[in-house]
Subunit: 303 residues, 2 copies
């Protein structure tokens, strides 16, 4: 369970994000219906909305209202979701289930799943550009955010991590040197990059200075890595049915923190990262309370 | 052959675009190497560079130097190329060859081809945001262009056309009513949307007024449709080896202009569209000379 006030905060911001997603995503009656249906299917499939809430929380930590960053917050969920839809494809991880429901390509077929992923990524940038129409947000901030998000989700960010992850599948990492470097590369890119980018984007839209944005970069980098370590631990210890997917990391002999360091040392590393993350937000004092609680929660959650 | 001065213009602008693409695309030595190699493989595979040249030509027609629009011009080629890489996938058109060379997934495998497409699309938006760093281009114009391009390449543009194209494959359109409507929908979206968007983007970056941008929208819509009709005609009549792909439209029983109207009527319709396109640029007088010649060339080319 989340402690208060984080619980109330997260609940209210998730609601804002869900309403925004419902508003921004085109109706399933818009032509061609099938693609809009496929996009909504994966967006409303029980995601935790962590990335969009981080966008809003960073903006608020910088003294702005959450509403000013809402289109970009929704965009981050679109990018996260597109990456899951493509990851699940037969040519990639070949997963039939995600969060207990059939994956996009199982329902709509591979061709539509590929296009739905493409469409979610494309729509994300349309939403970010919409953010320039919101009073109090400068066009300069928006074009900066487009660059940040494209960089964080591209080959030097999320996609780069995914590429190396695929290259190391089936235990191929066991034949390489530098396991720690490879593992850190994958986690920093595949997961942490998008989390870090969410925080940078929220702060930038709120008009934060480059120095302030850098604090969020440090915080995001560290909680992103902690989040992935916690995920790898959950993959092993959590109730499989609760997660709604099989403990597939072990089946694929994936390179993970628990595989390399064992459970206890992995937990210790995650906890140390969370402490560092909270330290990075010291300059914001009490305004960072929610983000500090969130950092703790990331390694304490059970799903 | 292209007439002068179009030939010289096209050659010099293609050179600018190729240099920009080479500069902006990350080196094949950047980690992870495989993804940057796969991206460059498809970008430097003999594309005509029509869309980026249209970006530059629209900017110049509005009195700007071509250099101010170069990052966005390169971005349009990235988006066009990503769409080809994904279209060629086994789950989509399942093509082994494009322009006489093995398709991306034949060389790098399906997983990397999917990610290379994703990465090209993502990089495109990074380049557009870079355009804000160029002197004389406002951040407002750049955030507008992000919106235009995302819309034109999304489900109400290029992706929408691709979805309906897939739905109608294998002769499925023969069982539907309204063949003309379906055909026009596919062409206007799958091909014309990106061509139209290239012109809008170039004009917008050059500081054109909304009324001026609308002239380019009309011109782009019409030459885009004419371009696709010409392509369908070429698929039937051109030397197969010259095109470097099989006349696959007929093999797939695709819905095309020649299939619906026959060759002669298709040629007549394309010619009428070209006349309308040229008419739309009347307000620009002599400054539109290149774009008018280009409209003629689109239906006269043999490849």
């Amino acid at each position: 369970m989340m402690p208060e006030p984080l619980h109330s905060y997260f609940e209210s911001r998730c609601k804002m994000v869900d309403q925004a997603l419902n508003h921004y995503l085109d109706s399933t009656r818009s032509q061609p219906e099938i693609i809009h249906e496929a996009m909504r299917y994966s967006i409303f499939a029980g995601g935790k909305r962590l990335r969009p809430v981080l966008v809003l929380a960073a903006a608020e930590c910088c003294g702005a209202k959450p509403e000013i960053a809402l289109p970009t917050a929704a965009a981050m969920e679109l990018i996260h979701t597109y990456s899951l839809v493509h990851d699940d494809l037969p040519a990639m991880d070949d997963d039939d289930l995600r969060r207990g429901r059939p994956t996009n390509h199982k329902v709509y077929g591979e061709a539509i799943a590929i296009l739905a992923g493409d469409a979610l990524l494309t729509k994300a940038f349309e939403l970010i550009s919409k953010n320039a129409k919101i009073r109090g947000v400068s066009s300069k901030a928006v074009s900066d955010v487009v660059g940040q998000i494209a960089h964080g989700s591209g080959t030097f960010g999320m996609i780069g991590g995914q590429v190396v992850d695929i290259q190391m599948e089936g235990g191929k990492w066991q034949k390489r040197n530098g396991h720690t470097d490879i593992l850190n590369y994958i986690h920093r890119h595949k997961t942490a990059a998008l989390i870090r980018t969410s925080l940078q984007a929220g702060a930038t839209l709120a008009g934060a200075s480059p120095a302030q944005v850098a604090y969020f970069t440090a915080y995001g980098e560290k909680i992103g890595l902690a989040f992935q370590i916690a995920d790898d631990i959950l993959d092993i210890v959590a109730d499989k049915r609760k997660l709604g997917k099989k403990g597939s990391d072990r089946a694929n002999r994936k390179l993970t923190y628990p595989a390399l360091y064992g459970l206890e040392e992995s937990r210790r590393k995650a906890a140390a990262l969370v402490e560092e993350a909270k330290g990075a937000l010291k300059p914001f004092g009490k305004r960072a309370q929610i983000l500090k609680q969130l950092a703790n929660y990331i390694i304490e959650r059970d799903h």
